[in-house]
Symmetry: none
Subunit: 224 residues, 2 copies
DNA sequence: CCATATTTGTCACCCGCTGGTCAAGATGAT
DNA sequence: ATCATCTTGACCAGCGGGTGACAAATATGG
């Protein structure tokens, strides 16, 4: 999962980036509205954390522009503690959730997880595909009930696929959502990790669609 | 399906070409209006992506010329973000859809798919012919409900025929719409692929009209 | 703070699939 | 029967993808 943070205060921004990366997200950080808006318009994020008090362009404006352009990623807005009006305005402008500063990073993480879950149309924080179950809350994976140890990267890859079960996900899309901006786009890491995951979970969990990418089967097995 | 991209910014153009080819289109790329206009006038495209901010000739002019020449392919116009006048002018000049820069390639792909679907007179993204069903959205094909694995090329060929169900499609037309500019026109690949598709979907799906080409039966055939 | 284990990404090599060519055989039209 | 057109099996080069091994980076533990 890949996030964009738009936060003008460098220390806080950097700190958030580090924490969220620690929670398994690929994070891009932008410190002003102009740049942040551009990133959100061109790159493909799973969620955005947007501070309203920005220099240059105001956060609300940025959000409004995104929505007008048809960007649908979930946006979590950071507001000053007591600016009640901001919250209302934020929700009006198309924010999906808000959090008042100062806040516990714990809470931010929890809310982001919920946002992403909802936006991908998953009802529960438990995702399943055949014998595989993934709990986004605890970050644990089981195969036929048995716990399986995945490494951080393996988990990210699998998690993205499970959030988009049934859809064909291209290598580029995977790279874009698992790594942040600067990453060597032509290398075969994805293939390598798919192999490693298959070794742990069985070779039939992830299907290869030649020339297009990978896919987790939807439970659309039809018998009779 | 074959597309023409007219985009002066080389990086963006090339990137678009690559992505769209990845989505199964044959793509010609032109970097200036003069050349772009020529291609659109001589070759046969299923849709055109036209950037309005072109050197030499303006995009709107090109579009106008095409329409005056009687070209009917659907045109998706790329406009700068805030130039609202461009949009209006574009639609007036005969554009079928527009997309403001910057945009996400996902969206471009979706819009193109819709444009082509509409321009071929198909109401849904699910095309059917007898027992065969093709979903342009997911790229999956089923025979009597059973999923069938087609290769990329097989899919392109079948997809084109299904978009033009009932019409007799000549070999040249197929070649022109499945491959891009540089392709050896006299070879029997088409025949070979027709054979291969028949082997997978049954020999009666594609009818041969000797001397003219191939055709997918309209479902209403009834021999009295 | 060093030693060790684990993880991550790169590389090289292999393999099977796919797309395209060719040529021989089948099928139709006249 | 003759000729053109279409079908199909065989063949092969090239590509995309899978995998083991190695090296760098990072985490773990004494």
């Amino acid at each position: 999962m890949r996030l964009l943070i738009v936060e003008d205060e460098p220390t806080l921004g950097q700190q958030l980036k580090t924490t969220l990366e620690g929670s398994g997200y690929a994070v891009d950080l932008s410190t002003d509205g102009e740049d942040g808006h551009f990133l959100g318009s061109t790159e493909d994020y799973d969620a955005v954390v947007l501070d309203l008090g920005l220099p240059e362009i105001d956060g609300l404006t940025v959000l409004g522009m995104w929505r007008k352009e048809g960007r649908t990623f979930p946006v979590l807005v950071l507001t000053a503690r007591d600016s009640w009006s901001d919250k209302v305005a934020g929700l009006d402008a198309g924010a999906d959730d808000y959090l008042a500063k100062p806040f516990q990073t714990e809470e931010l993480i929890a809310r982001l997880r919920a946002l992403i879950r909802r936006s991908t149309g998953n009802a529960s924080s438990e995702l399943t595909a055949g014998p595989v179950r993934l709990d986004t809350r605890s970050g644990k994976v089981t195969l036929d009930g048995e716990p399986v140890k995945l490494t951080a990267q393996e988990y990210k890859l699998l998690s993205y696929l499970m959030h988009h079960k049934g859809k064909v996900v291209s290598r580029t899309e995977l790279i874009e959502h698992i790594y942040d901006q600067d990453f060597d786009r032509d290398s075969n890491t994805i293939e390598v990790f798919v192999t490693r995951i298959r070794k742990k979970l069985g070779s039939d969990v992830i299907t290869t669609i030649r020339g297009l990418g990978y896919s987790l089967e939807d439970p659309e097995e039809r018998v009779g």
